[in-house]
């Protein structure tokens, strides 16, 4: 018994370590490339380690892009997109999972349909809406496509479906109305799902580069990913500077993740005792 436990532990660690190596590879590559010269980064056969450690690429990246603005824009965009996604998706997810109303299936199929549509077909129509509202070149424009989240709705609906009916019924008998049942009883139970949706929405918003580039022109109104994309020339790209810039851009995301990481663990503690 003890032996088999040890074996399973070894297998677990081995799998995690091998997986980590595979997953961390591009990140290590970014760090190595950010200290190379352009010539080294393009060389064949490729070199793995840079000859010298260059801090120059970082200063170049900081000089060529308004990082302070880009950090602020990215954080604001993520913040609002997450708030909207969590708020509206929780409401809709709860309603679709727990409430009875006419036309529910048809309305839910609209949610599903959005997920089927290729995002490229939205770019021009949504740009026109933003332009008509006079919002081009603002943070609001960055948030715009993320006002509602079909995926979030579907994802949280599943989370609410997994909550036993009795919990809702008990709340109802205690005299809670629908809204109170939702905010006081049900919403807290989906805590780890909400944390996952937050990370998911944030990463999605962070890596979106097409939309910010199309809707905002001013470099001071760009997000980190889209601002970095402007470092690509038409014919050539300075990869070491791009990598240095990308490393700087990753910082807030990693911090955000570490923060939610904690939420995840607390989430277990909460639901674990239910």
């Amino acid at each position: 018994m003890k032996n088999s436990k040890r074996i399973s532990k070894i297998i677990t660690y081995a799998a995690l370590i091998i997986g980590s190596v595979i997953m961390i590879f591009p990140f290590v590559w970014m760090i190595l490339t950010s200290s190379k010269t352009v010539a080294e980064s393009m060389q064949i056969p490729p070199t793995i380690f840079p000859k010298h450690l260059l801090a120059e690429n970082f200063t170049d990246a900081l000089k060529s892009l308004p990082f302070v603005n880009m950090y602020a824009n990215t954080i604001l965009m993520i913040l609002f997109r997450v708030i909207f996604a969590v708020l509206f998706s929780s409401m809709a997810g709860y309603a679709f999972a727990k409430l009875k109303f006419k036309g529910k299936n048809i309305l839910f199929s609209i949610v599903l349909m959005q997920m089927m549509l290729p995002s490229q077909i939205f770019i021009i129509p949504q740009y026109q809406m933003v332009a008509k509202l006079g919002l081009a070149n603002t943070v609001a424009a960055l948030v715009f496509p993320g006002l509602v989240s079909a995926f979030g709705t579907f994802f949280l609906r599943q989370a609410y479906l997994a909550i036993p009916e009795e919990i809702g019924e008990a709340a109802y008998l205690d005299g809670c109305n629908q809204w109170q049942t939702f905010t006081k009883i049900m919403f807290p139970l989906t805590r780890s799902s909400v944390a996952a949706l937050t990370v998911f929405t944030a990463v999605f918003a962070y890596s979106d580069l097409m939309w910010p580039l199309v809707v905002n022109s001013d470099l001071k109104m760009m997000t980190l990913s889209s601002g970095l994309a402007t470092l690509r020339g038409q014919f050539s790209t300075n990869f070491p500077v791009l990598m240095a810039g990308s490393l700087l851009a990753m910082l807030p995301m990693v911090i955000l993740y570490l923060f939610f990481q904690k939420q995840f663990i607390e989430g277990i503690a909460m639901t674990g005792s239910k």
């Binding site: 609209i110 995002s119 490229q120 989370a159 990370v199 995840f264």
Partner: protein, 296 residues
Amino acid sequence: MKKGKISTAARREQAWGYLMIAPTIIGLIVLNVWPFIQTIYASFCKHLGFGHYKFVGLENYVSMFQDTDFWRATGNTLIFCVLTVPVGIFISLLVAILLNAKVKFKGGFRTIFFLPMVCAPAAVTMVWRWIFNSEYGILNQIFGSHIAWITDPKVALISCAIVAVWSSIGYDAVLLLSGLQNISKSYYEAASIDGASKITQFFKITLPMVSPTLFVTMIMRLMTSLKVYDLIYMMVEETNPALTSVQSLIYLFYRESFVAGSRGLGSAIAVWTVLIIGVATVFQFIGQKKWVNYEV
């Protein structure tokens, strides 16, 4: 009296339902459904330029169905989906379970698995291109092989699938992990007392309990893989001899709509893609009744 009360309660519940879905549904209609209706209309039109269209009936669909590249793209997309979704979901579930297990440095491992999601796409592309490089790539060096991973039409789609699976693990594992965390520990404790093995526990507790989250992750992954574009675009350039063997539907759509300016034909391809995804989703929803467990 009693009957009236019930129907009042039901009516109130219905009103709450509409109220709570209203922001989402209105937003989706304005932001997404309306543009899609415009796309459907455009698929029956010729694009004259700058959003001006002329109705031409089925012309775009006729030329689309006659195009061999279009059928190859349809095939490529379906094969890509089959190659990536089952493997990707399986690995992601495994990773999520490992990350949920009692291990040291859990936070560290989780952060590492999260990193690829926020790495610069350019870095990801550079690394994989180096791994796959036929002369200097690490893959051929390890296996002592001479496979042209990116340029051989027979292999290129598999290479793209490997990258796709790799880059989806982070996302899917985050979602599945939350599903695993919603499972109360008391179930496992009870099962341990009953003497159930880990494997029995997995099939009797973990899988059924995580199935609602697994289902939504699968649906999302299926849809995403049928809409694949960025990844193939990054790995395979226009002059790559393997292009027609890896070109996906949305890649073709993008080239028609945004490069060639034929938005009518592009829209027809988009509509076709949505149809395929719709059919696949319907099957998934029918199938879920067999394995997704909503009763806890």
